[in-house]
Symmetry: C2
Subunit: 329 residues, 2 copies
């Protein structure tokens, strides 16, 4: 479940204590507590480290702030000089509190509950770094399509930094890692190989050289039928699919070779009731027989009633593959 | 070319004269002039009527305003009472200036230059009506997924209004019509049939009952591999594809049965140069041999240099199918 428990009242409490969002990420006691909150409340099967994909540019020396409700704001990286000014050598020191948090979460989690580490994929992180904020990322695309050899240097820095970040999370106890390529879907198909697939493959290769047995989950959001070539070409072990992807299609085209994660539209957690539980069962009926991690297709929406998350957990646990009785366990 | 010439200085001049965006749409002399501007400057093969998908809710009695740069703002439709208060009987009178503009454009266009009419598809227009503005359209999805029988009533009103709007544009001289389903891509796959395909099919059926020979172009943006089932199930004659769709895939999977329109990423019009012309040729090499309308995959971006649009037109005109010499014409 992404974004830890940002919809939970106990999260709001710690968020106020911390003052800023990044302080929450960089204070191990708080990050550990926030990571564990949904596990404690709902008994999830896995926890995802409370952090943000933008801690990597922050560690590289880019100023990153999170306004209240306006999304992130970064000092834009727009020139070769800006790229040269990035400081990958700061990474380990700057992100030490994140790794401490990972280590403590791994120790604190109950037996059988996995810790998932994560990072943003190079393309998505580069989008934020070049644009300086969310949006249509026109400046990032303009640079990538217009001067690809320049933009490639930024991607190269991010490939190294991202791999290092994931490797260290695994060293501190993450049992799987996920690469969020949230903006892969804004790439025209002709640029998809160069800016989504190739950098992801490089990150996966570097990670697997150190941690061959730790699964890598790739999540190139909004890329529809490109998912198969993405999975084939990048070397990920599992594919996270957004809500726009048909669960039946994913079962047929992807699940024979890759584990699947997804893909309930988070709006159903606002809807609740039988609409929610029917949809959960439909996804499980399509994908539950193969290797599958039930999850949302996008992040939890603000205002989601915690009771509906409890209902989700209950519905997932109650489901049984066709032919098996709904008893035992 | 969508959005007429909003990137042209001569557009800015008329926009200032009109005062508000909707005044521009509802003043035939101005709407005609704006529609013709790109044709005069670049010699396009077709003109798309200068208007907006939100003139339909405006005609139905919803208050619609366009702030400067903040996107549209509507009085939200959130209850059955709000739906009952819509006034489809106002359509013809309220949109009379739009139809006058269409008629005059059709008369003014040079021989061989087609007029394309358009409307928003019911799902996309409903998104704006329920939400009251752009964004993630959570309120619209919540209503559609949570109380589908209520939301269906809004869709039913929009199916009628949209069909009527397209039928009247054809009567005034539009030689093809396009249905923009710009937010089809935010639907989870399980809701795609009900809210994108079914209403579009109803609009197409109503339109074709009156204008069987006027082609309908469908543009369900961001729906990737759903495009084939969309085209099969809705009865459109042509499919507009966004930049995320591989031109080779569209040529293989769609073009044997449907004409294709698309799909240059508008960022290339900011990039210009050989990056632009190489990309244009690649799209034409994939799709130019079959029934094809060269177009962008999304709207023209603000700040696009008109010179790059001229370069695009030149590159498209210079292209020849493999084996044919680049002479003559």
């Amino acid at each position: 479940m992404r974004q830890a428990g940002r919809y939970l009242p106990e999260y709001g409490e710690l968020r106020r204590q911390a003052g800023s969002f990044l302080t929450l990420c960089y204070t191990p006691e708080l990050a550990v507590e926030v990571t564990l909150q949904p596990v404690k409340r709902f008994g999830m099967d896995a926890a995802i480290l409370f952090s943000d994909i933008l801690v990597v540019p922050d560690a590289l020396g880019v100023e990153v702030t999170f306004g209240n409700g306006n999304g992130p704001c970064l000092t834009p990286v727009r020139t070769l000089q800006d790229i040269a000014a990035l400081r990958p050598e700061r990474m380990q020191h700057h992100l030490a509190p994140v790794y401490t948090a990972a280590e403590r979460v791994a120790q604190a989690l109950p037996e059988g509950v996995a810790l998932i580490g994560f990072a943003g994929a190079p393309w998505t992180v580069a989008c934020y770094m070049v644009e300086g904020r969310g949006g249509a990322f026109t400046a990032a695309k303009l640079w990538a399509f217009g001067k690809p050899e320049e933009f490639q240097r930024l991607i190269d820095v991010l490939v190294e930094a991202t791999a290092e970040h994931l490797i260290e999370q695994a060293r501190r106890g993450a049992e799987a890692v996920q690469l969020f390529d949230s903006w892969a879907g804004i790439l025209p198909s002709s640029e998809f190989e160069r800016w989504c697939i190739a950098p992801t493959r490089s990150v996966v290769q570097r990670f697997k050289a150190i941690w061959p047995d730790v699964p890598v989950i790739g999540f190139p959001r909004g890329t529809g039928c490109m998912l198969r070539s993405y999975a084939e070409a990048t070397g990920v072990d599992a594919v996270s699919v957004d809500s726009g992807v048909s669960a039946e299609w994913a079962a047929r085209e992807l699940q024979p070779r890759w584990a699947i994660q997804g893909n309930l539209d988070p709006v159903y957690l606002l809807v609740g009731g039988t609409e929610l539980t029917d949809r959960i069962r439909a996804i499980l009926d399509a994908l539950g027989d193969g290797p599958f991690v039930f999850n949302l297709g996008h992040g939890v929406l603000p205002g989601t009633p915690p009771g509906n998350v409890a209902l989700l957990v209950e519905a997932v646990r109650a489901w049984r593959p066709r032919g098996e009785e709904a008893t035992g366990r």
